[in-house]
Symmetry: C2
């Protein structure tokens, strides 16, 4: 390694690379924020070395599914709303109460708050499934992408990379009365939706190449009729964009799809030829073996959001089935009731244990101490990157962006781990708070557990919550 091929060398105690932790190895970053490679500490000149004592470096976590604005209802929906029982649908009405009242400035403050929390927890990239487009009265803003750009700006200001999944939302549902609380989401005409997405794509590519990019997200089969869906997928195919869609989150959604299309959502996508390796079905809870195989054949992914899914009473992602059939699972913090992607990772496995009354369900091919943890960690990193359009991302390989985080090896949750079981300690026991540094594109956005703007971001958010709810 020549000394002019890198700009900076990070030297922690351990680096997670090639599926294991290596010691005495420095991570080299070039001037453009990419990884130049790894080198022995002795090969690196002292002037370029950043020593990180008691730290391990791991590839940055990738948040595959986020609704940033829902941070404003954290802790505000955990009570009985009426005489009947509560469920996803009663929660949704409460969520709409927030969605209908946020100004662009409010959305910025809420988004920065959750992006800050993500950064503090080791997340370096996030896919934002963004569906609030218009003013509260349903009238489009002069710039139809105002709010998409607001969320992008919030992520970039915090220092995260963002894949803005612009959502198409045409209707309340099949043969369903319009819901006035969805006024801000609706773009009935696929051509105008695509023209908005197209200008957003161009603007973002020009202004933020490599830091922000655009994908499409037809909201769900409920909210988007078939012709419209086809248009979205055609555009995404043409421009090779990631496509995400809520799929099989709730039984009622599947029933409605059976009524309209005589097929389940996944079966519909398959028979229409819409599944591809650029497609991610978000949730994928209520799917069967056949649907799973259809996803596997197309190399599509499923994005699971276990902390949200337990909060909303959605049910349990059939992770064993997905893993067995070779469907890659990515992870998202979704409604942000918690913002701890490793908790999501461990719940993939834990929910299987609770269903089967067994242990070590999702990786039985190896007796390496961290083999199962590595499978779950792939969901939080590599599969997330693949799902949101970062080719080969979620690793510390040369040529990839220098997106990573560090953990404190003396943190009480993982102290005493050996290199071979450190990843198991991290995946099963580390709270987000043990993340010490987060680096995105070679730039340190979290240093020793803090963000330089955190006080301002938090104070603005507290003021927003007061304004919204009191």
């Amino acid at each position: 390694m020549k000394q002019d091929e890198f700009e900076l060398a990070w030297l922690p105690e351990l680096v997670y690379t090639g599926g294991r932790f290596e010691s005495g190895v420095a991570l080299l970053c070039d001037w453009s924020g990419r990884i130049a490679g790894l080198a022995r500490a002795s090969e690196v000149g002292d002037g370029k070395l950043v020593r990180l004592k008691h730290r391990a470096i791991l590839p940055g976590l990738v948040n595959g599914h986020s609704h940033a604005f829902q941070r404003v209802i954290r802790g505000r929906t955990e009570y009985r709303t009426g005489k009947g029982s509560d469920d996803f649908w009663t929660w949704r009405e409460m969520m709409y109460r927030a969605a209908t009242r946020l100004s662009p400035a409010d959305l910025y403050d809420a988004s920065r708050m959750i992006f800050l929390e993500m950064a503090l927890g080791g997340i370096t990239s996030c896919a934002e499934f963004h569906y609030i487009h218009h003013a509260p009265d349903g009238v489009p803003y002069d710039d139809p992408n105002l709010l998409s750009k607001t969320v992008i700006r919030a992520a970039l200001d915090v220092g995260l990379k963002i894949c803005l999944l612009r959502v198409s939302y045409a209707r309340s549902g099949f043969a369903t009365e319009p819901n006035p609380r969805q006024l801000r989401f609706i773009e009935e005409d696929p051509q105008s939706f695509l023209s908005h997405a197209d200008s957003l794509r161009a603007e973002v590519a020009k202004a933020h190449a490599g830091r922000a990019w655009v994908g499409l997200a037809p909201h769900s089969v409920r909210a988007v009729p078939l012709d419209y869906l086809r248009e979205c997928f055609r555009y995404a195919e043409e421009h090779q964009l990631p496509v995400h869609m809520h799929v099989a989150e709730q039984p009622a959604e599947i029933e409605a799809c059976m009524k309209e299309h005589k097929r389940t959502p996944v079966a519909l996508l398959e028979t229409e030829g819409l599944l591809s390796e650029r497609f991610t079905g978000v949730h994928g809870i209520h799917i069967n073996v056949e649907e799973t195989r259809a996803l596997a054949r197309a190399r599509s992914l499923v994005c699971a959001c276990p902390t949200t899914e337990r909060n909303l009473g959605d049910g349990i992602v059939p992770a064993e089935l997905l893993f067995q059939e070779g469907v890659r699972v990515s992870l998202g913090t979704d409604s942000h009731t918690q913002a701890d992607l490793l908790e999501d990772a461990r719940e993939l496995e834990y929910n299987m244990r609770l269903q089967k009354l067994e242990r070590v369900v999702l990786n039985r091919t190896s007796d390496e101490p961290s083999a199962l943890a590595a499978s779950l960690f792939d969901s939080a990193t590599r599969h997330g990157a693949e799902s949101i359009g970062i080719r080969g991302g979620g690793t510390l390989e040369a040529g990839q962006a220098a997106d990573f985080f560090t953990v404190d090896l003396h943190h009480p949750s993982i102290a005493g781990a050996a290199p071979e079981d450190l990843l198991a300690h991290i995946v099963f026991s580390l709270p987000a708070s043990a993340v010490r540094e987060t680096v995105v594109g070679g730039r340190m956005i979290i240093e020793d557990g803090h963000h330089r703007s955190e006080r301002e971001i938090i104070e603005k958010f507290i003021a927003l919550q007061k304004r919204l709810w009191s």
Copy 2:
């Protein structure tokens, strides 16, 4: 309130008292470490005031079930151990590998580590279900209570209160060959067990009154034959001690009990007249309506340990049934795969949501924003205190010990909460790391997120893990 009736007044932004957060109120503590009452800030002389900016004070969490030494196997059992599937019983063999090799000094170092983590997470009292009594070869130490006292010393040195539940363990199981890995646990004769417990009780009462105390824990119906059980319960009744027992954690344990006694464990305890309000059944996962009602009639408690139970593949505590029938549920971190009692609290509710595909299951009687959270918080505080023998504990009422913790109201996980939904934010979204101060008996053991001995405790533990496993 006269100024000589208290020694110190803690003034945070909010105090959780009487089931709600009050502002502008100081918590008064007397010289003996008890709560003298609450007062308006203006009534308190400045010299006695400890101002806590951006903080809320809540009653200390009570950890109802702990095996401290199991901290040494955290992160070391998450892999395939053989050709068959893994479960609780294969995990137990791995756990025994640790239990068989710890010296008294090792046990001290491991115990301090987990007690430190508990203190950092707002836990002020812990019930240690302690079953390692003898040297590794099964020979009793000169002092049969050496290891019990070692664990007590570890808790007190960290600053926690501890209820040492001395475990009786007579056999491997009904009609089962002895397991050499259980040699350290076994005291075959109830009289010698009780005489050891009796001297421990006397010594602890003399040396550590109010900070440590003793209860009994017949390990399980598997490990303790009926006559022996009766002796234990008789002694506990005579001295009014808490009695804990593992109950219905695994289906195999119930099958064995059916074979030996023609009844389930709970039915056996009931027909033998052993249930009482001093009894806590730990786990209580595989129990039916009749058994639940038997527990309710006797005013017995169930201690649930959801983070451990999901890790071990034990199954889901039937929390809705227990709540409906009026059985108080306490919480324990048990194997310490995580040490975050609020995560245990939220899992009580979340596992119900995943089973029923509904929301807000465990408290449907109120539409107060924090009513459900308050029920879960009671499990982490009041019911824990009742279960381990702290009468009226787990509250900030006058006369109770000044055992409490603070949270940072500007922590990203709860920032923006209003007083009425703050408890819901805390129970559903706060990570243990947002705890800033922990105070036990009026003495601050965690200050601004740190313990004064944490560096030494962690370094000793890291050295222990190296010694044990490399």
